[in-house]
Amino acid sequence: MPEFLLGMALVLLLTMSAGLVRVVIGPTPADRMMAAQLLGTSGMAVLLLLGLALEVPALLDVALIFALLAAVSVAAFTRRRAGEDQA
């Protein structure tokens, strides 16, 4: 069963690498941000699978930080300047 979890982590890692193409080609910055968000979530899944397969339970906390990171970077990315008139 650890082999199965590791194999699934590998599959997810490959889909993440495919998603990287969207970060690189982009066309708009919003596309890049979205791709980074998907990267964060699949990274969380990989971390959870690795945590069970390699028996490192602390990887759960790293996954927690990944979730926070996605939220913070989206908030930093979509902010507007204060004082701008409300659209």
């Binding site: 590791l6 982590a9 993440m16 990267l39 990274g43 971390l47 990887l59 906390d61 930093a76």
Partner: protein, 93 residues
């Protein structure tokens, strides 16, 4: 497939994409795109630390390297774009 083979393939994929991301971030001409690639690079490096069974380093890399550093660099890139637009006489903010 045995666990060892799987781990070796996993490491290979991690390494190749990490290198590609690093090169793409360094060679990218536009600051905002470089920052986005840097954030992705931080996430990826954190995965590498996790694979090396170093969850504490992975935590620090994800929180400081990708999160805090990424947000600060995003703000810096935005400011740089604005000031260069001003010196060029353009009015895009």
């Amino acid at each position: 497939m045995s666990q060892l083979t799987l781990l070796i393939v996993f490491d290979g994929v991690l390494l190749v994409t990490l290198l590609a991301l690093g090169f793409a971030a360094v060679l990218s001409p536009e600051p905002r795109r470089a920052v986005m690639l840097f954030i992705a690079f931080g996430l990826w490096l954190s995965l590498v630390w996790a694979r090396l069974k170093a969850p504490d380093v992975a935590l620090a890399e994800a929180a400081i390297g990708a999160g805090l550093g990424g947000a600060l660099m995003l703000a810096a890139a935005r400011r740089a774009a604005r000031s260069s637009a001003r010196t060029d006489g353009g009015d895009e903010t």
